[in-house]
Amino acid sequence: MRAFKLKRDWINGWLLLLPALVFLFAFTHIPAVTTLINSFFSTPRGRRPAKFIGLDNYERMINDPVFWKVLWNNLWFAIGTIPVSVALAIVMALWVNEKLAGRSFVRMAYFTPTVLPLIAVANIWMFFYTPGFGLFDQITGFLFGWPASNYLGNPDTALNAIIVVTVWKEAGFFMIFYLAALQAIPVSLKEAAQIEGAGRWTIFWRITFPLLMPTTLFVCVNAVINSFRLVDHIFILTDGGPDNASALLLFYIYEVAFRFWETAYGATLTVALLVLLSLLAIGQFFFFDRKVHYK
C-alpha cells in the first residue's frame, strides 16, 4: 500500500513537472546539444550537405580577429554597464524608499524604461545622438557652444554610447528588486542602531548593504546575462559599426548565422558563448553565494 502511494506521488510529481520539462528540453537542452554537434560540421548549403570537419570551426574562431574584438567589446560593455547600473539602482531604491512627496510617481518614472519597447527606445536614443540636430548636440551646442559630435559614428565612442542607453534601461529594472529587499529589512535593526548612536552612513554600510547582498547577487547574475544578451539596441543604433567597434558577441552570432548564413560557424560561436556563461554562473554561485548570506 505504501509502495503504491509512493509510486503515485512519484507519477504525480513528474506529471506536474512535465510541461516545464518539455519546454526546457525543446527550447534549451536539445538546441544546446544540436549546436554543439553542428559546430563540428561545415555549413550546409542548398547544393552541398554538411560534412564533418572536426575542430576546423574552432580553429577559425581562434584566428578570427572579429571574434576577439567582439569578445573584448563585450568585456568592456560588462565592465561599463554592471557596476554603474547596480550602484544607480541602489541609490534610486534608497531614494524612493524614503517618505517623499510624489513617491509613486518617481518610482514609476524610474521603472518606465523597462516597460518601453526596446526598438522604440533605441530609435528615440538614436535621435538624441544624431549629430547636428539631435538632443545632445542641441544641449551641448546651446550651453557650451560645442561642435556637433558623431557619438554613434565614431569607433571610439559608439560602444560607450550604447553603454549609456543600457545603464539607463537596466538601472530602473534593478531598482525594483532593491526596493523589495529594502522593504523586507526589519525596521527594528535600524532603530537599534540609531539608539546606539550610529549615523546614516554607518547604518547603510553595516546593516542595509550586507542585508541586500542576496539581492545584489541576483541582480548581478541578471546583469551579466543581460550584458551578453543585448542585441536589439545595436541593430538600431549602430548596426555593430563602425568596423565592428560596437558589435557584441551575440550580435556577431546573429550576423554570422542569419545574415551571412554560416550556421556552422554561428554554432561554434554559440558554444563559446555558452561556455563563457557557464563559467560565469559557476563562479558566481560557488564563490560568491557563500559570502552573501548574512548569518
Partner: protein, 427 residues
C-alpha cells in the same frame, strides 16, 4: 416529399461544388520588404488587392516582412522549415545566395511563348545585370532604384550659386561644397556641403564613386571582386578627403536613416540617397529642391539597387504560373506607374514612362526622370556568392577608412584578401 428531398440533395451538391471551385483557387504567399520612407507598403497592398479582385481564382497573401535583411532571413528560414513563400521581393544582390542555397527557380521555366520572352527583354538592361546569371533569369526587377543627388536650391542661392545647376563632376562637388559649408561665430559647422551616408551599407553609395572612376567591384559570375583596384582606392580616398581634406562633409560614419531629416533641417545642402526617397523628400522638404545624377569623374555612374521578384522552390506548377502572371501584371505600365508615383522607385520597363499617367506626373515633376536617365550609366550592384559576408567585409573596410583607423589602400587590400579566401571555392 421525395421530390423535395431530391431538390435538397441537388442544392447541397451544387453548394459543395461551388465551395470546391473556390477551394481550387491558387493560394500564393508573397513576402515584401520596405526600405525607404513613403507609402511603399500601402501601395503594394493596394495593388495586390486590386489584382485579387480582378482574378478571383488567385488568392495572394501579401506579407510585410520588414527590412530587406529581415525579408531574406524570413524567406530562408521559412524555406528551411519546409514552408517557403511562393513569391518574394528580395534584394537583387542576394541572387547568388539564393541560388547557392537552392531556394529559387528561374522564371524561364514559366516563360514559354515568344511574347513572354519579349517581356523579359523589355526591362532596363542595367536592372537585368543583377537579375540574370548563367543565361537564366532568376529575378524580375520591381522595387529598384539608383542613388541620386538632391540639393537645396535655397542654400545654393544663399551661397551665391546658381540654384538650378548641380555639380557635374567630383571637382565641382568639392568647389560647391566649400561655398555651401557654413560655420557659426565659434567655428562650428552649421551646414555641411554634402552628405554621403555610410551606416549599415556604405558600399552602395561608395560604389557610385567607384563606377564613376571606371571601376567595377565584382564580376558577373559573382566569384571575383576587385576591391584593391587602384581606381577603387582612389575613389575611397576621395570619399575620405571630403571630410578630412576638403572639410565639406561631417566626419565619421553618417547615418543613412537620418539623412533625409538632416537635409530637411538644413544640416546639409546636398545629399546622396536613393531615388526611392523621392516622394518622401517631395512631401517633406520645406524648401525648393533639385535632383541630379551623381557627379562624374571619368564617366557618370551609379549602382542600381533594390529588390527583385523571386520564385521559390516547393511551389506547384499552378502556383508558379499564377505568380508569374501576377508579376507580369504588377510590372505592367499602369501598375508600375502607380508604384513609381507613390514611392519614387524607378519603373523597371521603358514603356511605363510612355503612359499618360507617367507623362502627366513627370510634366509636373521633372526630377522623377533623373533616375531613369541615369540608368544609361548605371552598373550592376556589388553581388557575389555569399554576398552578405563578402559585402560585410567590404563594408568594414570602408568604415575603417572613413573613421580614419586605416588608410584606404591597406583597408581595401585586406578586404580583397578576405574576399578571395571566401570566393575561391566558387571559381
Amino acid at each position: 416529399m421525395l421530390k423535395s428531398t431530391f431538390l435538397k440533395a441537388v442544392a447541397a451538391t451544387a453548394l459543395s461544388f461551388s465551395t470546391w471551385a473556390s477551394a481550387q483557387a491558387v493560394d500564393l504567399q508573397f513576402y515584401f520588404p520596405v526600405a525607404v520612407g513613403g507609402k511603399a507598403a500601402e501601395t503594394i497592398q493596394e495593388l495586390t488587392n486590386e489584382y485579387v479582385a480582378q482574378n478571383p481564382d488567385v488568392n495572394i497573401d501579401a506579407v510585410y516582412a520588414g527590412s530587406y535583411q529581415d525579408t531574406v532571413a524570413k524567406a530562408i528560414t521559412a524555406s528551411r522549415g519546409g514552408n517557403p513563400p511562393q513569391l518574394s521581393v528580395i534584394l537583387s544582390v542576394d541572387m547568388f545566395t539564393l541560388i547557392d542555397e537552392d531556394l529559387i527557380v528561374p522564371f524561364d521555366d514559366y516563360l514559354s511563348t515568344d511574347e513572354d520572352k519579349k517581356w523579359v527583354e523589355g526591362f532596363y538592361p542595367a536592372f537585368m545585370e543583377n537579375s540574370q546569371t548563367g543565361g537564366k533569369t532568376y529575378g524580375i526587377p520591381f522595387q529598384r532604384s539608383t542613388p541620386v543627388l538632391y540639393w537645396n536650391k535655397d542654400a545654393f542661392k544663399e551661397a551665391g550659386l546658381d540654384p538650378d545647376v548641380a555639380p557635374e563632376s567630383w571637382d565641382e562637388m568639392v568647389e560647391f561644397g566649400k561655398k555651401l559649408t557654413k560655420k557659426d561665430a565659434s567655428g562650428n559647422v552649421t551646414q555641411w556641403g554634402v552628405r554621403i551616408p555610410s551606416s549599415g551599407f556604405p558600399y552602395w553609395l561608395f560604389q557610385g564613386l567607384a563606377i564613376e572612376n571606371g571601376a567595377i567591384l565584382a564580376n558577373a559570375d559573382g566569384n571575383k571582386t576587385n576591391f584593391d583596384d587602384p581606381k577603387v582606392v582612389e575613389a575611397l580616398q576621395y570619399l575620405v578627403d571630403l571630410s578630412t581634406k576638403y572639410e565639406i562633409m561631417a566626419p565619421g560614419i553618417i547615418e543613412w536613416g537620418a539623412t533625409p531629416k538632416a537635409f530637411f533641417e538644413g544640416q546639409t545642402a546636398m545629399m546622396w540617397t536613393s531615388t526611392g526617397n523621392l516622394t518622401n523628400v517631395r512631401d517633406n522638404a520645406p524648401f525648393d529642391f533639385g535632383v541630379a545624377m551623381l557627379p562624374a569623374k571619368e564617366t557618370r555612374g551609379a549602382p542600381t539597387g533594390g529588390g527583385n521578384f523571386y520564385l521559390f522552390k516547393g511551389a506547384s506548377d499552378e502556383q508558379n504560373k499564377a505568380a508569374v502572371e501576377f508579376v507580369q501584371w504588377i510590372t505592367a505600365p499602369e501598375q508600375a506607374a502607380k508604384w513609381t508615383i507613390a514611392t519614387g522607385y524607378v519603373a523597371p520597363r521603358p514603356e511605363t514612362w510612355e503612359t499618360e499617367t507617367m507623362k502627366a506626373y513627370t510634366a509636373d515633376f521633372a526630377p522623377a526622370l533623373v533616375a531613369r536617365d541615369q540608368l544609361e550609366f548605371a552598373k550592376a550592384e556589388l553581388s557575389t556568392y555569399q554576398n552578405q559576408r563578402v559585402t560585410g567585409i567590404f563594408n568594414d573596410a570602408l568604415a575603417s577608412a572613413i573613421t580614419g583607423k586605416k588608410d584606404p589602400a591597406t583597408a581595401l587590400k585586406e578586404a580583397q584578401t578576405q574576399a578571395d579566401a571566401i570566393l575561391a571555392e566558387y571559381r
